[in-house]
C-alpha cells in the first residue's frame, strides 16, 4: 500500500501564533472498577509545539494517552476529544493512527529478529496482492532513516542495534504513517546522555518543521530544555498548564505542582517502638539479569531496625525491586556481591529457601504472576511457602492446614465465601492479603513489601497499612517499596531514595517530603 509523502509540512511554529489548536481533550473521565483514573481532565495542545505531560506514577498520564489513541475506545470514558477542530471517537488504535496520532511507548514495540525495514512497514507493508515490493520498501526505509538521522542499513536486525537507535526506528516508523501528532512515553528513560541529547535535538528540529509532539517524562531537566508548554496531572486531574515562553519555569515549580496535595488521614496512626538493627545490607552490587555485562545496582547500603518501617522511594527502573529480589535468594540478577546480616551476624541468603530460613519474606509487586497460584484456593496459597509446618513426614495434615488458613483469613479480614475459594476470583485487595498471609505464615523477621497497595482500592489500602503497623508493633522490620510517595511519607519512619541503581539519599521522617525526595532524585540524575 503506497503511503504518500512521509511528512506533511505545516507552517513553522510561531510563538505569537493565534489559537491554532490541533488537539483538545475536554472533561475526560475514565473509571476502572473501584478507581477513578481520570477525573475531568482538560488538555489542550497547539499545533507545532512540544507539550510536556508530567505527573507522578499513577497520576493518569498513560491513561490519558490511551484514551487519546483509542486503546480505550470511545464510549468507555466520558468527555470529548477534538482533533483538527472536529469531535473524534476512536474505537481502535488504527482509527487514531489514520489521522496521524502516533504513540511511541516506553516499551518499544519492535520485533527484535526482523530487520529495520520490516519493522517500519510491519502491518503496513508496501505490497501488491500480498507480495512485498522489497525494492520500494528499502528505498522508502532509507529516506525515513535519513530523516531521523540514523545511519544503518535497512536490512540490519533490530536486535543488533542499541536502544537509542531502536527509538529512532520507532520514530521513523511513525513518519511512515504520516504522523501529525507524535506522543513519546518516557522516550529517554533507557537512553544514555548522548543518545538522549540527540533525540531531544531531533524533536526540536521536527518542531521547526511543524510537527506537534507530546512528551511524557520524569526528567524535568530535559523537559525544561525542549518543552513549550507543560501540563501537570495529579491524582487523575489536571493541575495546571504552564507556558514556558511566558515565564521561567523552575524544576521546583514543576515538582510543587506534581506533589502539592494534602495528606488527609489516609494512614492509620502508629507509635513507633524502634529496636536494634535487624537487617543490614552492605556493598550490594548486582549485574543485570539479561544484559550480563551491565552493572545494575551500585554499592547499595541500607539497614532496617526491629519495629521500624523503612521506605525505598524512586522512579520506575531505579532498582528498588531488583534490590529486594537480589537479596531474597538471588531471585534477580547476576554476579551478586555484598554482605547481608541479621542481628549483626552474617547470613546466607543465596537461595530462596535459605533467605526464608534467615527470616526474610518478599511480597512481590506482581501478585498475579509472582505471588499467587491463581488456580489454587486460598488455603493452598496460604500454606505454600511453609507447607512443612502443616505436614509431618511429607503428609499434609489437612485439618491443621485449614485451621491456619481460617486464622489468617479472619485475622487479615480476607473477604471470600470460604478458604476454598480460588485466588483468581478474589478482588485485588483480597488477593494481596492472601499473599501477605502466605508470607506471615513463614514467620519472618523482615518483611519486604513491594508496592503492597498497587491496584487496590482505598479501603483495602487502609487495611494493608493497619496490618503493616501491627507487624511493626510486633517487632518485625518492614522494608516498603512504593511509587506512591504520600504512602511512603504516611507510613515510614525512614526513607531511602534510589535512583539509577544507587541509594542517593536517606531521609528521616522529619526531613522527608515529596519535594525533598523528588529533589534527591533529580539532582542525582543530573550528576550522572
Amino acid at each position: 500500500m503506497p503511503a504518500g509523502p512521509a511528512l506533511t509540512l505545516r507552517p513553522p511554529w510561531n510563538v505569537t501564533d493565534m489559537e491554532n489548536i490541533i488537539l483538545e481533550m475536554r472533561n475526560i473521565t475514565k473509571t476502572f472498577p473501584g478507581v477513578k483514573a481520570l477525573d475531568n481532565v482538560n488538555f489542550k495542545v497547539r499545533e507545532g509545539e512540544i507539550h510536556a505531560l508530567v505527573g507522578e506514577n499513577g497520576a493518569g498520564k498513560s491513561t490519558l494517552m490511551k484514551v487519546l489513541s483509542g486503546v480505550y475506545p470511545a464510549g468507555t470514558y466520558d468527555g470529548e476529544i477534538h482533533y483538527d477542530s472536529e469531535v473524534r471517537a476512536f474505537s481502535t488504535i488504527s482509527d487514531s493512527e489514520d489521522l496521524g496520532i502516533i504513540i511511541i511507548h516506553q516499551e518499544l514495540a519492535l520485533v527484535p529478529l526482523l530487520s529495520i525495514a520490516e519493522n517500519i512497514f510491519l502491518g503496513n507493508e508496501i505490497a501488491a496482492k500480498g507480495v512485498i515490493d522489497w525494492r520500494e520498501t528499502f528505498s522508502r526505509t532509507r529516506e525515513l532513516l535519513a530523516k531521523v538521522g540514523l545511519k544503518e542499513a535497512p536490512s540490519t536486525l533490530i536486535t543488533d542495534i542499541g536502544v537509542g537507535k531502536q527509538q529512532l526506528v520507532e520514530i521513523a516508523k511513525a513518519f511512515s504513517k504520516k504522523v501529525r501528532l507524535l506522543i513519546l512515553d518516557e522516550p529517554t528513560a533507557s537512553l544514555n546522555e548522548t543518545d538522549s541529547d540527540a533525540l531531544l535535538q531531533l524533536l526540536m528540529e521536527f518542531r521547526n518543521q511543524g510537527l506537534t509532539s507530546i512528551i511524557i517524562s520524569h526528567k524535568l531537566n530535559e523537559i525544561k530544555k525542549v518543552a513549550d508548554k507543560i501540563t501537570i496531572l495529579r491524582d487523575g486531574g489536571t493541575v495546571e498548564t504552564l507556558d514556558c515562553h511566558k515565564e521561567d519555569i523552575s524544576e521546583d515549580r514543576i515538582i510543587k505542582g506534581m506533589v502539592g496535595r494534602d495528606m488527609e488521614d489516609r494512614y492509620p496512626p502508629r507509635e513507633p517502638k524502634i529496636g536494634d538493627v535487624l537487617l543490614e545490607v552492605k556493598n550490594w552490587n548486582v549485574f543485570h539479569q539479561q544484559h550480563r555485562d551491565r552493572q545494575f545496582l551500585h554499592d547499595v547500603n541500607f539497614n532496617v531496625r526491629a519495629g521500624e518501617v523503612v521506605g525505598i522511594a524512586g522512579l520506575m527502573g531505579a532498582g528498588r525491586t531488583e534490590t529486594a529480589m537480589s537479596i531474597f535468594g538471588r531471585s534477580w540478577g547476576h554476579k551478586i556481591t555484598g554482605d547481608v546480616s541479621m542481628h549483626g551476624k552474617p547470613v546466607d541468603v543465596s537461595t530462596i529457601p535459605k533467605a526464608i530460613d534467615a527470616g526474610l519474606a518478599y511480597v512481590t509487586e506482581d501478585r498475579k504472576h509472582l505471588g499467587l497460584v491463581l488456580i489454587n484456593n486460598i488455603m493452598h496459597n496460604t500454606s505454600l511457602a511453609n507447607l512443612s509446618a502443616v505436614a509431618s513426614n511429607g503428609v499434609i495434615d489437612t485439618r491443621r492446614e485449614a485451621q491456619v488458613a481460617t486464622d489468617y483469613r479472619s485475622r487479615l479480614r480476607i473477604r471470600s465465601h470460604s478458604i476454598y475459594q480460588e485466588a483468581v476470583n478474589l478482588s485485588g485487595g483480597n488477593q494481596q492479603k492472601v499473599v501477605l498471609s502466605k508470607w506471615l505464615f513463614t514467620n519472618p523477621e523482615i518483611l519486604i513489601l513491594d508496592e503492597p497497595t498497587r491496584g487496590i482500592d482505598v479501603g483495602a489500602k487502609f487495611e494493608i497499612y493497619s496490618i503493616i503497623n501491627q507487624l511493626a508493633a510486633e517487632g518485625k522490620g518492614i522494608l516498603m517499596i512504593s511509587s506512591e510517595m504520600p504512602e511512603l511519607l504516611g507510613t515510614c519512619d525512614r526513607i531511602y531514595v534510589m535512583n539509577e541503581g544507587r541509594i542517593v539519599a536517606e531521609l528521616p521522617k522529619e526531613e522527608a517530603s515529596q519535594e525533598s525526595i523528588m529533589r534527591a532524585i533529580m539532582r542525582s540524575g543530573e550528576k550522572n
Binding site: 504472576h369 497460584v373 491463581l374 493452598h380 511457602a385 503428609v395 465465601h417 478482588s427
Partner: protein, 401 residues
Amino acid sequence: MAGETSASNTTSIGSYLRNNIREYGLLVALVVIMVFFQVITQGVLFRPVNITNLVLQNSFIVIMALGMLLIIVAGHIDLSVGSIVAFIGGLSAIMLVKWGLHFSIVVPICLILGGVAGAMQGYWVAYQKIPSFIVTLAGMLVFRGLTYLVLQNRPIGPFPKDFQLLSTGFVPDLLAFANPAPTVVTNFFALVVVVVLVIAAVYFGLKKRRTNELHGSENEPMVFFALQMAIIGAVAIFIGFQLSTYRGFPNVLVVMALLIALYTFITNRSTIGRRIYALGGNEKATKLSGINTERLTFYAFVNMGVLAALAGMIIAARLNSATPKAGVGFELDVIAACFIGGASASGGVGKITGAVIGAFIMGVMNNGMSIMGLGIDYQQLVKGLVLLAAVFFDVYNKNKG
C-alpha cells in the same frame, strides 16, 4: 466474582452440578460407554474372561497414566514412555532369559534402570530448561534405538514361569473353604474383597462428610454422593462378581489398585504432590515461595521412568517375549487418557481418578470395538474424536463459567 461475600456453605444442587460437571460427566461417560458396548456386543464385554482381558490389556496404560498425570500437572509432557517400555522389557529379557537371573533381582534392577532413564531426561528438562517435548522426543528415538541395539533386532523369549505370573497370574482363592456356592463362584475371595471395599468406601465417604460439616467446608449434595456411591458400588460389585466366577483377581489388577491408591494419596495429601500442582499452576510464584521447582520436575520424570519400567515388564511378561516394537504409540494412549480425564495441557490441573477413568474409557472403547470387529482404522478415528470432544468439553465449560 470479585468482591463476592456470600457466606453460605450449602450450595444448591444445580450450581454444584455446574461447578463439578467435569467429574460427574467423566463417570457418566464411562458408564454410558460400558453399557453401549455391553448392548452392542450382546453381552460379550462383561463376560468374566473379557473383563479379565480388559484389565490385562489396560493395566500398563493405567499405571503409566499415574506418572504421566504428575508430569502433565507439572506443566510438561513425556513422549518417551513407549520406548522406555520396550527398552526395559528388552533388558529384563536379557537378564532373565540370557543371563538366567532370578526375577527377584531383575525386577528391582529394571525399576532402577527405568528411574535412571527418567532422570536422564529430567535433567535436561529441569536443570537445562529444554522444553520437555523436545527432550522426550529425543528420548523416544534414543530409547527405541537402544532397544533395537540390545535386542539385536530379534525378539527374546520365552520368560521363566515365575516372571510370567507377574502379568498373567491370579490371586488364589484364600477363602475357598467358606465359599457358599462353589458351582457359580469359583473365587470367593475376590467377591468378598470387592464387597468389603465398597462398604469401606461408603463408610469413609460418610465419615468425611461429617468432618467436613464440622469444619464448615463444602460438601457435595447428599443426592450426588448417594448416586455416585450407588453407581460405583454397583459396577464394582458386578465386576467383582463376574471375576469371582472366573479366576478371581489378576495379579496386575492388585498392583494397579495399590498404585492408584498410592498416587491418589500422593496427589491429595503429600507435600510433594501439593507442590507439583503449585509448580504447574504458577512456576515463578512457586519458586519464589522457596520451593525447589527444578528438583520437583526432575523427580516427576524419575517417577515416570520407574512406572514405565514396571509397565515394560508387565507387557513383556504378558506377551511372553520382549520385542523391539513393543510399546509403539503407547505414549499417545497414556497422554490421551490424562487429557480425557480432565488434565490441563497448561499444567496445574488434573486428578488421578480422572486419568484412571480416562484410561478405562479408552480401554473399553478399544476392547468393545475389537469385539465388534472394527479394524484399527475405526478405532483410531473414534479415539481421536473422543479425545477432541473431551477437551472441547473442558474448554467450553471453562469459557462458560
